[in-house]
Amino acid sequence: MPDAVQVLQSLVVVVFAPLYVGAIARAESMVASKRGPSVFQPYRDLAKLLRKGAAISDQASWIFRGAPFVVFACYLTVSAIVPIITSVPLPLAFLADLLGGAFVLTLASFAITLAGMDTASPYGDLGASRATWIGSLVEPALILVFFTVGVLSASDNPYLMNHAVRASPYAIVLPAHLLGSLAFFMLILVENGRIPIESPGGSNEIASIEEGRVHEYSGRYYALMRWGSWMKFFLMSSIFVNVFIIPWGLDGSAHNMLGGLIAVPVLLGKLGICGLVVVVIDTSFAKLRFFRIAEFVGAAFLVALLGVVTSYVVSV
């Protein structure tokens, strides 16, 4: 039965990731006093893109054609190893810990970068160069966040972390944990191109980072790339709510499908809270100038560093 729950977990990520993005886009329009697109618009976009044929440059190599599948597979792998709907490790959870998950996410980003450079389109190159620069800044901060996680659970396994926080809820307000959570949230915004870094979904070439890399894609390849990036946002937000902020409401046994199914609406509710914060940030801040991004990531690094420093309290 855990195998079925394992499949369910990955399905939840694949199926609900567009809904999460659509709901956030809708909420942002509503805050701006607009009606906005339906929350199901991302599904319609995907259906449209999947029906269409793809135009591929005759200069493109197999890297360009293969990258969308590698990317999608990477995000599917991560969906199997982190706690999304269960708080007990599923059969595939042995594959990697948080650090390993971060490696797989970076592998996906690496594939997108290669694909962006493959056709020698200037936009792809520009996006690749920018994304790599930001990625090199994000990496050390992310590793420090994992250290703050390790402070509480003496492990970098997301399941153990979830248990540690549930076992003593006051651990949530320990400085190390709070600062680590804040830094992780800032890194989610950076990694997924949300507002202080990039206007989500906008393909304004002057500012584009994530969009620049996939500029040359069309049709079903583009659908896979978009879907993958939504899954990444969904996955990172799930890790944020399930491991850092609200570790309750997960299926504790993984013995039957019912528990897993009950955990799904709970997860969506928790993601709604996280999405609300993203909406508030998206609508109340302006995009940073490109070289100010280093300061934003530097602030996340500093917060995570403070989290590690203040971790002495764990012995209380």
Partner: protein, 224 residues
């Protein structure tokens, strides 16, 4: 009387406030615009008054309630508004250009100072369960960060705010460690502080009539 341990609700709230105050101090250190600099200080003081209220509620101490209210009124609202008025309206200063190191350098030094505070006052050395133990090194870190702001900033009003951050740290440490501290001592410190701020503001606004910018390096030239 129940002690203010880390795992009690009050202790948790105090720790939370201390973390927010530390973040506000870092925000102060990293902000170039005067109005933000002052606003972050105001936010820090509001959080401090909240912590004081939590401790007052915990010990049922009317004196601490009075101090919390005074903190909110004077340090949370009064001082930020008056310094903001002074800097933005009367002196027409928006950006603090008189900074002796880069902002990122000062943030890194600030992180090192925080680490130093935790090294010196390891919360694990404090009696377990007696105090909200992580608030103590955090308050020490605030004292050091306020000192750092005074060293890094050259504008007199900015230095004054640095000094007030230090004062917030001292106050946080005092109410965490010895909440039953005689009221008269704390109130005396408080009145001293208010008098000092009033004098400083009057002095700075007087002196800036003749000097365009009241930076400490220029004030030093006034020596006989």
């Amino acid at each position: 009387m129940e002690s203010l341990s880390t795992s009690s609700v009050s202790g948790t709230l105090v720790t939370l406030s201390a973390v927010l105050m530390l973040l506000a101090a870092f925000a102060c250190l990293g902000s170039k615009l005067f109005n933000r600099y002052v606003a972050y200080y105001g936010f820090q003081s509001v959080v401090l008054s909240f912590a004081a209220a939590v401790i007052a509620e915990h010990y049922g101490s009317g004196e601490l309630w009075a101090l919390a209210a005074l903190t909110l009124l004077i340090k949370g609202i009064g001082i930020p508004l008056s310094t903001r008025h002074l800097l933005l309206q009367r002196l027409d200063l928006r950006r603090d250009v008189a900074v002796s190191t880069g902002l990122s350098t000062s943030l890194i030094i600030g992180a090192l100072l925080t680490a130093f505070a935790f090294l010196v006052i390891g919360p694990q050395d404090l009696p377990a369960g007696a105090v909200a133990s992580s608030a103590v090194p955090l308050s020490t870190a605030l004292v050091l960060l306020g000192g750092l702001a005074m060293v890094v900033r050259r504008h007199t009003v900015a230095q004054l705010i640095g000094w007030l951050i230090t004062e917030n740290g001292v106050f946080l440490g005092a109410i965490t460690l010895a909440a039953t501290f005689p009221f008269i001592v704390e109130a005396g410190i408080f009145l001293d502080l208010v008098a000092a701020v009033l004098m400083m503001v009057a002095y700075v606004s007087g002196i800036t009539r003749s000097l365009a910018e009241a930076t400490a390096s220029e004030l030093r030239e006034l020596r006989g």
